[in-house]
């Protein structure tokens, strides 16, 4: 059973549907006991970092995810859910993340070329930096779907793939049992489904 943590941010319908498609048993939940019983955990998220981090903290679900990650359970963050795995974000002020991975969330503005549009929306290629079981069904250069204005910086120790948008941007991370995708696997067609399948098979 994979628990999709429902902490009130974002649309979980597609994520749940895509996991079902690859044969996973899923539950969308904000129940601590259900998350603790699950074999794997997915932390989704869209919207603003501060709001999401606050909701995770106030609901206590952030601590539950951290405790489960410490027990070696596979945890994957998607999009904003990946960013929250890191130490700190500079989106609208400074906000603390869960600190499961080393790195910070910083604006693309001022980093990428001025003539490129922000958000980075659309299909872009994955460039593998490290081998990882998440990519076992993929090939270097496969396309995935991104929507974001901030990116994770200073995560060299967990970086497994980046993407090129004027400059390299963090696309996927993994360290031990903690995984993250900046893109949306549930919106990345067959390539995305293969990543979800690989996560399910961990």
């Amino acid at each position: 059973m994979i628990a999709i943590v429902d902490y009130g941010v974002g649309n979980l319908f597609s994520l749940e549907s895509s996991l079902k498609r690859v044969g996973a048993e899923t539950v969308v939940t904000s129940d601590r006991a259900v998350i603790e019983r699950a074999e794997k955990i997915i932390l989704p998220g869209v919207g603003a970092f501060a709001d999401a981090a606050k909701k995770l903290k106030e609901s206590g679900l952030g601590d539950v995810v951290k405790a489960q990650a410490a027990l070696d359970k596979p945890v994957m963050g998607i999009c904003l859910g990946m960013q929250i795995l890191f130490e700190k974000s500079y989106e609208y002020g400074e906000n603390e993340g869960l600190g499961l991975l080393k790195g910070n969330v910083v604006p693309m503005k001022g980093y990428i070329d001025e003539n490129l549009k922000i958000p980075h929306i659309g299909w872009n290629t994955l460039r593998f930096v490290r081998k990882n079981p998440l990519f076992k069904y993929l090939k270097n250069g496969d396309y995935v779907y991104f929507v974001h204005s901030y990116f994770v910086s200073g995560c060299q120790d967990s970086l497994i793939a980046d993407t090129e948008y004027g400059k390299p941007l963090t696309a996927a991370v993994a360290k031990g049992n903690v995984y993250g995708c900046q893109f949306h696997p549930e919106k990345s067609g067959d390539v995305g489904l293969k990543i979800l399948q690989a996560f399910c098979e961990l």
């Binding site: 549907s17 922000i118 929306i121 659309g122």
Partner: protein, 252 residues
């Protein structure tokens, strides 16, 4: 490198796909869910569903279709038509939409864009502009192209982006259904005015029209069309191949 997107648009009425020529003479095409699956397999980068129903029954059928499409097609889905409130955003987002496009709803209530962007993020709010030339200037039209609002289109689109719209679909009513190419003049004006992604709609008749679009306006992010895809006049796989051969970055 980020790729240009090819987006089929499905106008849905009473649970079925229709495509109007110049917004009149609606003609039935196929099951929207089957069409969505077919397009996703053919390489469509995204899909747009427009709900052109007015009745409550039709609206319920539409959300059923949307839910079914979102559980079988795993590419981004934009939904528009009849979006007038944040509650309407919620209704379609909970059925699997990723982005919501507004036109008349934003004209009637300009604060809708800001409210929705604050709640769901800018990336979720798409402004869909039906534009037509009236006495030599671009006018915004409302109510499915039936009503001239008298507002100048480019400045209105810019205002929507300032309010928080994260993407713009520019639909040229002058070119819609005519199949003689996209409205380059209008699209250039919009691209010069805003810095969010711009999607060209209205006028696609051939592969060459898409090549011209992306070559003439490098700032255009996506090309949207309906009937040329529905009737098989352009196969998405062939279109993407031809564009790639012309040096346009695409997901193949």
């Amino acid at each position: 490198m980020i790729t240009k997107r090819i987006i089929p648009c499905l106008d849905v009425k009473d649970g079925k796909v229709v495509k109007g020529v110049n917004f009149e003479g609606l003609r039935e095409v196929a099951s929207p869910v089957d069409l969505a699956k077919y397009y996703s397999k053919s390489g469509a980068d995204e899909l747009v569903f427009y709900d052109i129903t007015a009745s409550a029954e039709g609206r319920a059928l539409f959300t059923d279709v949307l839910r079914e499409a979102a559980s079988s097609v795993f590419i981004p889905l934009t939904v528009g038509g009849g979006i007038r409130s944040v509650a309407d955003f919620e209704r379609v987002l909970s059925c699997g939409a990723d982005k919501v496009s507004v036109n008349s709803g934003a004209i009637a209530n300009p604060s809708l864009i800001k409210e929705a962007a604050q709640k769901y993020g800018n990336q979720c709010v798409v402004i869909s502009a039906d534009v037509k030339r009236v006495n030599g200037s671009f006018h915004m039209f409302a109510k499915g192209g039936r009503e001239d609002t008298g507002m100048e289109a480019v400045s209105w689109i810019k205002r929507c982006v300032d309010e928080g719209a994260g993407e713009v679909v520019v639909n040229s009513m002058d070119m819609d259904g005519v199949k003689k190419g996209f409205d380059l003049e209008l699209l250039k004006a919009v691209c010069a005015a805003v810095d969010v992604p711009v999607i060209a709609s209205g006028g696609a008749g051939s592969v060459a029209d898409f090549i011209t679009l992306f070559k003439e306006i490098p700032d255009i992010d996506a090309g949207l069309a309906a009937s040329v895809f529905h009737f098989g006049e352009i196969a998405i796989a062939d279109l993407k191949k031809a564009l790639a051969e012309n040096g346009i970055p695409l997901r193949i």
